[in-house]
């Protein structure tokens, strides 16, 4: 893995600091890839127009210019404040966001009364703006360590907030303010990742090496573990009250992964899996909403046999299947049959139908690349907080993609969640842009600030 090479470079440089000019910055690569990403998005937009009305959409140039300007501004911010950052993050984010806009615009054509693309464009702009702000303002990711407890309080506040608002579609996860719908849990993801990373970085030794031994498991002391379990229970409890199981699953996964990475104790995985299985069985059989989801997952076509017509999951599977190897072509599928949430939770089905397995594989590879680069940045860092933060952010992306993509393709029970960058949903797009900003910041630190890191090097 190329990560090893970077780690070696980092170790060497710890002994004999290299002049900054020697580190390849790769900003040119990033710019070239950005041009490609914007180009592919515009091509997709043009293709939809050609396929649907045999004409290039009149605002294709404007769409391309808008996306191009956003990408360029983000690139300039990176060039200015994070010159050593990994050159893949930004182009992948732009491509996925651009592709998401094309897919949403394409679905808008089927629902003339409900246009989602303009709002998504506004949110994407806001996301890029926050990205730029984060890259410019946050000069060093370790600054975040100072806000460990502020993060957790803010996260819990955000998670609790929607309980005060009326439920939307059976879930209390939105708050509506001045015409905007916001999903606070999306932002809480980042804050919780920051908290977990900071707390675990500070207490990892205690967690790993102290505590009582019970049979073969070495349990950490309650004093250390107490707060983290309490907070985790609280967040998961809130989520179950709000019936947002996807996010609850995500938090649990994030918690287990970070605990395992921080302590290096396989026992955590075992405990995590055990808790997950017990929790899944308990919630799956007790909670009617979840119980029905599990039933649909096990028998996606039962409703058809019962004469009630296809469920959304069945429609989603039909859409994927209709795509086949090459897809029907952008604009030429019938994924709108999925109905409600076709542009958000089920957006991947449209990609699957219209781009086929080939296009879907490309999208999965883009996510895999984004996640792998995140982990790689973590590997290259020398401070425990940075490593845990990068691991946490990459895990959030990976788990999120798995939970929703697996849900709409029948691999696991369906839980509502947004496909990062692709799906309609303002909070999600903004959050993912911030995640990418943090990953860029972390990867920049990994490659350009070896001297500072050397001083607080961590034992392997």
């Amino acid at each position: 893995m190329s990560g090893t090479g970077t780690a070696v470079v980092a170790k060497e440089s710890a002994e004999t600091p290299l002049p900054p000019a020697r580190v390849p910055r790769r900003r040119g690569t990033e710019l070239a890839l950005l041009v490609l990403a914007v180009g592919v998005s515009v091509l997709g937009y043009v293709h939809v127009g050609l396929a649907r009305s045999h004409a290039v959409p009149p605002d294709a140039a404007r769409y391309g210019a808008g996306l191009g300007v956003l990408a360029l501004l983000a690139h300039l911010a990176v060039r200015w404040r994070a010159p050593c950052a990994d050159p893949l993050f930004l182009p992948i984010a732009v491509l996925l966001n651009g592709l998401g806009l094309v897919l949403i615009y394409r679905l808008d054509l089927e629902t003339p009364g409900d246009m989602a693309a303009p709002a998504q464009l506004v949110w994407s702009t806001a996301g890029v703006a926050l990205f730029i702000a984060a890259v410019v303002v946050l000069r060093d990711h370790r600054t975040l360590q100072r806000y460990t407890y502020v993060s957790v309080v803010a996260a819990l506040a955000l998670l609790t907030l929607p309980i005060l608002f009326p439920p939307v579609n059976g879930a209390r996860i939105w708050i509506r303010l001045a015409g905007f719908s916001i999903q606070p849990a999306e932002f809480a993801k980042i804050l919780l990742a920051v908290f977990f990373a900071a707390y675990l970085a500070a207490n990892r030794t205690a967690l790993a090496y102290t505590g009582r031994r019970l049979w073969k498991l070495q349990l950490p002391t309650g004093r250390v573990l107490g707060p983290i379990v309490a907070i985790w229970l609280l967040s998961v409890g809130v989520l179950i009250l709000e019936r947002d199981l996807g996010t609850s699953l995500l938090f649990f996964g994030l918690f287990v992964v970070l605990l395992y990475v921080a302590t290096g104790r396989t026992g955590w995985i075992a405990v995590g899996l055990l808790l997950a299985v017990v929790g899944a069985i308990a919630v799956g059989s007790l909670e009617p909403h979840v119980h029905s989801r599990v039933k649909v997952w096990l028998h996606p076509f039962a409703s058809i046999d019962a004469g009630d017509g296809p469920t959304q999951l069945a429609q989603s599977l039909f859409a994927f299947a209709a795509g086949g190897l090459l897809g029907t072509g952008l604009g030429l599928g019938d994924s709108i049959l999925i109905g409600f949430a076709a542009k958000s939770d089920f957006i991947l089905a449209t990609a699957g139908e219209e781009l086929g397995l080939s296009g879907l594989s490309a999208i999965f590879l883009l996510y895999a690349l984004l996640v792998a680069r995140g982990f790689r940045a973590g590997l290259a860092l020398r401070d425990a907080f940075g490593r845990l933060l990068a691991t946490g952010l990459a895990s959030i992306l990976a788990l999120q993609v798995f939970v929703i993509a697996g849900g709409v393709s029948g691999l696991i029970p369906l839980t509502g969640m947004a496909m990062p960058f692709l799906a309609q949903g303002g909070s999600s797009v903004v959050t993912n842009w911030i995640i990418v900003a943090l990953l860029i910041r972390v990867s920049d630190s990994a490659r350009c600030q070896p001297d500072e890191q050397a001083r607080e090097g961590v034992p392997e």
Partner: protein, 487 residues
């Protein structure tokens, strides 16, 4: 820590891999199963995405397509729907397809592989070839004449070109406009319910799908069997049949509507429709002989398609002598579709060479390039030339001097046979009036048309109802139209 981050990364990538494998499972390995799920609307959406190909009569389309702008975009329309309904059937988005719309669906919807230049064409162009054109053998003037002649009477007409088997007319009355069922939604549902519950059964294709007891019209088949089996060698020799005739093994006496049937010759019996003589001859031919000849005419064949499916006409294969005697005059369990009786007439007209009836001449692409063409084929040879000649003579006699004189056409040779069948418990139902006939131009080398007409007669006076009275004039109108249409 490095090792654990690596493991976490490997785990994340494993999740991505699982997604990819699952996507391949759905999109490639099991896609067909999902695609063919009846609840998957894509099949229907693709089916109606482009205009359906047309069914043509004499080169002019009798169908059309309307762009509704709905999810199922194109709806079927019909020109002269009630007239051609027995030919076209309906193509409904709600209730499926029937008759030619069904039998030629692959051609009309463009899904027939014949329409693709090469197998992977659709996948590469991402488009379906436009629907093809189905050219029928129907002769519009004959069809119209039959429809006009039946008017408001429930009944059916089937007309064939005896020399080729081309179906010249298929009419069923009362009829309906198939366009009423084309779309989806409450209008189509309401129409469907109304048409299905109507007492007059307008959606019943009487020419192909309804069987009637053929009555005396079946005597042509019995006469053929008597001649072929050698029971009758001279059609002018007495048949030694008593009047009344006691059904073998019973005390039931069979009588006649006309005089002179005692010991009549076969010619007299056919011309004047003597029940006693032909029941007796059927009994003498025997079950096996009668069944063999009837089946060679097409009876007991449940697989006939033209390509619309034709109902099975029945001649029982297991009967006692009394039942056989009754079956031989088209009673008991003997039933026939109008098309079957037109085939009987066509076999006589064409010298014993029975052609397979067919309704579709050729299928072309939207632009007229021929995809497939149909050529006449022989179904069977139920009897030889000599028998054919004698049967022709007797049928001509029935028209010139016997029960069928209402069918005579000046300037043409016409042969025919009447039939009146009673049905229902104790014959309480309304009788069916039959006329089967054929016509040949006076100086023509071959017959122009073979016709079978059935009228479910609602006339009050049962005695007066005979094939000669209500059905023969209809047959004449159809034959005249066919003779005039001859090039």
């Amino acid at each position: 820590m490095i090792r654990h981050i690596r493991l976490a990364a490997a785990f994340s990538l494993l999740l991505m891999l699982a997604l990819l494998v699952n996507a391949a499972r759905i999109q490639v390995f099991q896609s067909e199963e999902y695609d063919n799920n009846p609840a998957n609307r894509r099949v229907a959406i693709a089916r109606y995405a482009q205009p359906r190909g047309d069914i043509l009569v004499d080169g002019k389309p009798v169908t059309g397509s309307r762009d509704t702008g709905q999810q199922l975009r194109h709806e079927r329309t019909y020109e002269n729907g009630p007239l051609y309904a027995p030919v076209t059937g309906h193509a409904s988005q709600t209730y499926g397809t029937t008759f030619l719309e069904d039998a030629e669906d692959a051609a009309l919807s463009g899904t027939d592989p014949m329409f693709r230049p090469f197998p992977a064409w659709n996948a590469l162009t991402r488009s379906e070839p436009p629907g093809g054109q189905v050219h029928t053998t129907i002769e519009p003037s004959v069809q119209q004449a039959a429809y006009n002649a039946l008017r408001d009477k429930p009944g059916a007409v089937a007309a064939l070109d005896p020399a080729t088997g081309r179906v010249l007319a298929l009419v069923s009355t009362p009829s309906y406009d198939p366009e009423l069922l084309s779309g989806t939604g409450s209008t189509a549902t309401r129409n469907w319910k109304r048409l299905n519950t109507a007492a007059s059964k307008p959606m019943l294709n009487r020419a192909l799908r309804q069987t009637y007891p053929p009555g005396s019209a079946f005597k042509v088949v019995t006469a053929a069997a008597a001649l072929e089996s050698g029971v009758v060698k001279d059609i002018d020799a007495p048949t030694k049949s008593p009047d009344p005739y006691t059904l073998p093994g019973t005390s039931t006496k069979l009588t006649n509507a006309v005089a002179g049937c005692a010991d009549a010759s076969l010619r007299y019996a056919v011309v004047w429709s003597c029940n006693t003589a032909l029941a007796n001859l059927g009994d003498q031919v025997g079950l096996r002989g009668m069944v063999r000849v009837a089946e060679r005419f097409g009876f007991n064949d449940s697989g006939l398609t033209i390509p619309s499916p034709v109902s099975r006409s029945n001649f029982d294969t297991d009967m006692d002598r009394a039942q056989l005697a009754l079956s031989s005059i088209g009673q008991y369990d003997t039933t026939a579709t109008p098309l079957q009786m037109a085939m009987v007439s066509a076999a006589v007209a064409n010298g014993g060479d029975l052609k397979v009836p067919y309704l579709v001449d050729r299928v072309t692409t939207r632009h007229g390039a021929i995809v497939s063409t149909r050529h006449p084929r022989s179904l069977d040879r139920p009897f030889g030339q000599r028998t054919a000649q004698l049967l022709r003579e007797m049928m001509i006699g029935a028209v010139e001097e016997g029960t069928g004189e209402n069918a005579a056409i000046p300037g043409a040779i016409v042969g025919g046979k009447t039939g009146t069948a009673q049905h229902g418990i104790a014959n309480s139902g309304l009788p069916y009036a039959w006329f089967v006939s054929w016509a040949q131009p006076q100086h023509g080398a071959r017959p122009a048309v073979a016709v079978a007409v059935v009228v479910e007669d609602a006339a009050a006076d049962r005695e007066d109802i005979s094939g000669g009275g209500s059905a023969a004039p209809i047959a004449r109108a159809v034959m005249e139209a066919a003779l005039n249409a001859e090039p």
